[in-house]
């Protein structure tokens, strides 16, 4: 009998003793403990490229057609020809704070900002990474943080500036003044420029930002913030890099340098492209996949006197090469035009991907410098930059502008037809340029958009703070016009 009690006693005691050990479990197979992420070059790099992967993973996201499309509709570039309430709100400049796309254009860049901050923090603290990798990752993360803040500040105006991983405090952070956000963006881009090198990391594909990408974005930021001198010098630095970049010309269509090939992967115009990650069904880019129609196009260039359809000068090769057309089969025959910079809707079965999504393009450097030079009253230099792009478009060279207004009009025209449907350039331009009426409270958008948009209100230049952000952050204040 004693033996039995002994066994039972031991069983129960050992149960109690070994409890702690028993409930310990190993890390799950589907996750990597944070402590190990920034110890090796490979895993630290994985943390960075994870951002690019998620930027392009699914359709209608901040970095995946939404910024390009919604801004193009909010401006006067193209319209969506069917029924979709979320798009209609952009088209009519009658956004509501519950618009799903506005919500994504807020939350998604902030997610990337957190992850960039995590990389900055992790990489900085690590002493096991190769110095070259360390600099590269730090530079990329700072670039990324600046890139996301740049778009947020242009969508929404003042936005919370998030520079660390203190999630709990950041959650309730109030909106920082635009100037403060821009100052941080400039600092990040300067750091990135110092940390990054000219060569693209990895296999040399132009799918991760390099020094030029940071320089180009920095010159854009200087331009947007009115610092023409620095915008000019940074843009010059980009333009001077003729070993990596060039403007693709309008020569023989079979020529590798033909402008129809500007959006091919790693083309000479590409400063930073996003590689398509989800190639389901032979997709190359989401832009090509969505914009190129199978029959009648859904995304149509705006028509009429103020439409982009009529905005091209006669003979502009950008119209013939970068705009597609479709005519109805039956009378009355109507022709619709659509953006056709990307040429591949769906690649042939098994064919390799040929196009990547363009984020930063070399041609923008000429436009930035031209505009900066106009601001610096260097009209002749400005015209030279514009003529580089006009030359490839088969258009006659411009003469020196007679007045600042004329010079600015030239810049405006070139920017419109060069950068259409790319990353919201037109929308941001109309917002940031002053009204020709001289009213300091009005923007260029107030001059132009009411002509084609009856519901236009000056407050529409800022998108509304999404309803979720309003609800979850007690310190959040809504933009004017949405209250």
């Amino acid at each position: 009998m004693k033996i039995i009690y002994y066994i039972l006693f031991l069983a129960l005691v050992s149960t109690g003793l070994s409890c702690k050990k028993y409930v310990e479990i190993e890390d799950p197979k589907d996750q990597l403990a944070t402590g190990t992420v920034f110890t090796t070059d490979a895993t630290a790099t994985a943390a960075m490229v994870g951002i690019y992967s998620d930027m392009n993973a699914s359709n209608y996201q901040f970095a995946n057609v939404l910024t390009s499309f919604t801004c193009a509709m909010a401006a006067d570039e193209f319209v969506y020809a069917s029924v979709l309430a979320n798009f209609d709100e952009f088209k009519n400049n009658a956004l509501t704070s519950g618009n799903t796309y506005v919500g994504l254009m807020w939350s998604s860049p902030y997610n990337f900002i957190y992850r960039s901050n995590a990389v900055i923090q992790g990489v900085s603290a690590s002493n096991t990474l190769t110095p070259a990798v360390k600099n590269q990752l730090l530079g990329e993360a700072k670039f990324m943080r600046a890139f996301c803040h740049f778009y947020l500040v242009n969508f929404f105006g003042d936005v919370p500036l998030i520079l660390n991983t203190d999630v709990l405090n950041n959650s309730n952070k109030a909106r920082s003044p635009k100037a403060e956000v821009y100052a941080a963006i400039i600092q990040d881009l300067k750091d990135a420029k110092n940390l990054l090198v000219a060569a693209y990391p990895g296999a040399g594909e132009r799918t991760r930002p390099n020094k030029t990408a940071a320089t180009l974005l920095l010159s854009r930021v200087y331009l947007y913030t009115g610092n023409n001198a620095l915008a000019e010098s940074e843009a010059s630095e980009v333009i001077a890099n003729t070993t990596q970049y060039s403007i693709l010309k309008n020569a023989d269509p079979n020529d590798a340098a033909h402008m129809t090939k500007a959006f091919l992967k790693n083309s000479n115009e590409a400063v930073w492209q996003l590689q398509v990650v989800n190639t389901l069904g032979g997709r190359n880019t989401w832009e090509g996949n969505t914009l190129i129609p199978t029959a009648s196009p859904f995304y149509r260039l705006t028509k009429g006197a103020y439409g982009l359809e009529t905005g091209f000068e006669a003979g502009d090769k950008r119209f013939s090469n970068w705009v597609g057309s479709y005519s109805t089969a039956t009378a009355p025959i109507v022709t619709h035009y659509y953006p056709f910079k990307y040429k591949v809707r769906v690649g042939a079965a098994g064919a390799a991907v040929t196009e990547y999504s363009m984020v930063l393009r070399f041609a923008e450097a000429f436009l930035i410098r031209a505009e900066a030079r106009v601001g610096l009253s260097r009209f002749s230099d400005a015209k030279d930059d514009l003529n580089v792009l006009r030359a490839r478009a088969g258009l006659p060279a411009l003469a020196v502008a007679a007045s600042p207004a004329v010079a600015m009009a030239q810049v405006e025209q070139e920017r419109r037809v060069e950068l259409f449907s790319e990353w919201g350039h037109r929308w941001f331009d109309l917002k940031r340029w002053k009204s020709l009426s001289g009213d300091p409270l009005k923007s260029r958008a107030d001059d132009i958009l009411p002509l084609s948009k009856p519901l236009w209100k000056p407050t529409a230049v800022l998108f509304p703070i999404p309803v979720e952000a309003m609800r979850t952050n007690p310190n959040m204040v809504q933009n004017p016009g949405y209250n």
């Binding site: 003793l17 490229v49 994870g50 992967s53 999630v167 979850t472």
Partner: protein, 1105 residues
Amino acid sequence: MYYKNTLFASQSLLTYHHTIIQKLRFFMKVNAILLVISFFAVSSLYAVNSSAQSLQEVNVSLGFSKGNLQEAFAKIEQQTDFRFAYKKEVISGIKVPQLEARQRSVKQILDELLQGSGLNYKLLNNSIIIFKAPVPLASVSNYRQEINGVVKDEKGNEMPGVSVKVKGKTIAAITDSKGAFKIHASADDILVFSYIGYSTVERPVQSAKTMNVFLEPQSGTLDAVVVIGYGTTTRRTNTGSVTTVGAKQIANQPVGDPIAALQGRVAGLDISSVTGYPGSAYNVRLRGQNSITGGTAPLYIVDGVPFISESLSQFSGANGSQSPLASINPADIEQIDILKDADATAIYGSRGANGVILITTKKGKSGKPEFTANVYSGISTVSKRVKMLNGAEYLTMRREAYVKDAVTPTEAQAPDLLLWDQNLDQNWQDLLIGNSANLSELQLGLSGGTEQTKYLISGTYRDEKIVLPGDLGFKRGALNMSLNHSSVDQKFQFTSSLKYTLDENNTLQSDVTSFFNLAPNFPIYDPQGNYYWIGNEQNPMAYFERTNVSNTTNIFGNTTLSYQFLAGLTAKVSAGFNRMEMKQTQTLPKLGFNPINYTGSSANYGNAYLNSYIVEPQLNYNVKLGKGSLAALVGGTWQQSLREGQGVTGSGYISDLQLDNIKAATLITPRNYSYTKYRYTSVFGRLTYNWDEKYIINGTFRRDGSSKFGPNNRFGNFGAVGAAWLFSNETYIKENLPFLSFGKLRGSFGTVGNDQIGDYQFLDSWTPTTYPYGGIGGISPSRFPNPDYSWEVNRKLEAGLDLGFFNERLLLTTNFYRNRSDNQLIGSTLSSQSGFTSYQANLPALVENKGWEFELNSINIREKDFSWNTSFNLTLAKTKLLEYPNLKNSANAAKYVIGQPLSIVMGFDFQGINSQTGVPEFRDLNGDKAITDPADLIVIGNTMPKFYGGIQNSFTYKNFSLDFFFQFVKQEGPLLNYGYLSYSNGSALRNKDLSALERWTTPSVPAMIPGASATAGKPIYTAYQNNYRLSNAVWGDASFIRLKNVSLKYNFKDLLKSWKFNNITMYIQGQNLFTITSYDGFDPETKGYSMPPISVYTAGLQVSF
């Protein structure tokens, strides 16, 4: 051989044991097994240690046919070392009774053989001497005689399977199919007759040779078995709050999910279905919502083994995620016990906060083999449709919208006005969910056995179609095997069961019900006969081209071994395992796509499994202590479960016919992978003292450790005290209140925990991204980690009063409970600007749930040919957020309000329609002349019911029995036009219900429904989309009374007496027959745009022989 084997086994155990002591850690892992082995060893040790073999200790396995004694003795000599000595004349002429073959001691055999023969025996060395017993002069008390008899029920029907025992002895018998029994007993013995559901009868033998016994059904359920954590009790002596639902109530309902069978039947248990698709999950809340955002599902335990309630689905289908509980076959369930208060749930420690639902499955019953078959078949239809505008009314509204908007419609915006047939008027509800679907189920079972060994094997096949076009549906095959064994002396008990369930749910990828409001003239096909497409609009009929099949395999086994090795002391080990596997295939062929979105056909393949085991050693000790009895339990638990799931997407198929074939894909892309390990360990104990059946006190304790929690806070202590006073057993009550046959006052208080917060939430880690980038795999942060959160604690308080009147014909239970949940373990909402939208943290927020529960059972009429029983339950419950520090500045500021329930819904306060413009207007709370979220939000409602319950009436008249059950719920909820799927009247391609006929049309004519508007940016449209559909204008009463179940049966037993059938019953049953409600949408239970619960009508036949 028997001896040698056991001796060897026990010796080897002892040697083994010594090495184990040196290796304590290793011992820990095997100690559960050892415990089991040691119990076996104990019995053999006794046999070995005894120096001489006695008649009691030598067991033989023998049966005897009728014959003479000499032959019987010879048989015993063959198997033992004993030798018989007798005079031939003494034993000649003595008939040996027939004894069935089983294991007995020699003494037992001799007692039975010589019973009534006048012979006696004596052991001398190894010889058994047989001699004539001297006839006692004074008494015949030891003289055993055969007693024959028949047991009948209250209606005079013979009762097979009734257990007949001699009180205090091991002699037992069972009545045969004619209700007859035969047993040997002495004149001073007492016979005990017992049968489940009937009152036990004791009859003294005295001089009776035949005995006819009538058993009365138990009038109440006071003494029926109530299953509680790690034990059983009765309603009479339970100190906790438990409601039991029996197999009969479950069998009356032709449902596929055991949870569905509980709807409305248990006070405190609020169950609502999410969709009407088979296999879909239910919202189950026991006594309200305790956790702010953690899990609120109760803990499910099947035969002692925890059962998962989270789905294994890797992607969802039309039914949402497949509910694992749908793989429990309702026909296999014997009873379900719902444990509510601290007293009942504290033994489940960290997992009992949301209550516990114990499912006990069917076991074999002793008696001759009985074969049962039950088959039913029927049809199901959607219970309610919404009346929509007809084609002409719809087109009028659309045109009016453009007129009011002052916009000229274009073909792109208004194809319904400019392109499509103006006379086409389709009812999408008829087309999509208007079919009637077949349902059939077949159950076969075989059970039987002896008092020692009982078995049951049963199989069920269910085939349930869905009310959609095509051959979609749910099929399930279930096998249940159960084997129980106990030793003759009842000291050793063994139970075991194995269940195997296969089901296939062939459903759609998404619920097509939401297309009910598509334009009536939307053409399904183009002139070429292909699916018609326009813009981004989905053609709902093309959805039927996509398939979604999930197959679940569930193997579930459990076994318990117990041995009583001292009087009152029983050791027990229960162990169980569960393996559930799910395989899913979803195909997306070209035909199912709008060509503008089509980028190639694809298919999704998902695989997931769960492996789980649990071992729970326990010690039970029962002892008389003073005037009362003390029961003690100590035990421990080790549980581990592992879940792994993965999903891949295939693309690049040569042919759409090959989409089910993963190998035909030229590109396989990983979709998701998850891996979750969970370990759990605890020690628990319970002490119950029952003093004189008057005062009962019960204390429980549990210490739990779980891998779900951060390394610093892995352990928690939980416990409860419950007490009951059976005041009806007090003499002064008995004397003064004779009509009060039962009265019990009880109360309990304790703390219980909730651990439903997901696994690894403490872990600071990164997860691979969906796709690699530039050949490099990417990773992203899994979460915002919080390494030191700890348990959420629920303090439960309960007071209850149980009353029985008129010999328990009327039983009333009243409970008052107040549960307070603290230290809330929640997914705390973050603003997305932080990078995350939520994180897990303990919040010092306090949630209170309190309520009253009433359960009433009454036998209204009990005559020979007619009876009428009623049972009724009612729950009044309230959830309230009591404390939430700094709520105003927290991320949940716009979600919760102190003093309000957690289930509140915020919205705009509708003020009417501007009679000049048709624009809906709302209260401007902050006076800024604009209606904004969240500044102008008010609490518009609460999704938790105010009160709910059910009433069941059961009638029997001769061979007919009729049961019907009404469920009622008083609640509010979103009306048809609430929510983001509701569009402004006159929106492109969206039809409306009849309420749109009352829309504003003419200035100065007042209306309560906004005017028509189809254009974004126009005032009516904007106000509708931004405010109206989220306002109290479209929020309202969703109360209902539903005839949930009707069952009418006819039993042919009279007609078939001469046949060899035990039972032939024909029946018709119905589920969700009709609903009385003022709700304007599909169904007040499911609400929204999902498939409502279906109505089912079946007819069936039940046979047993």
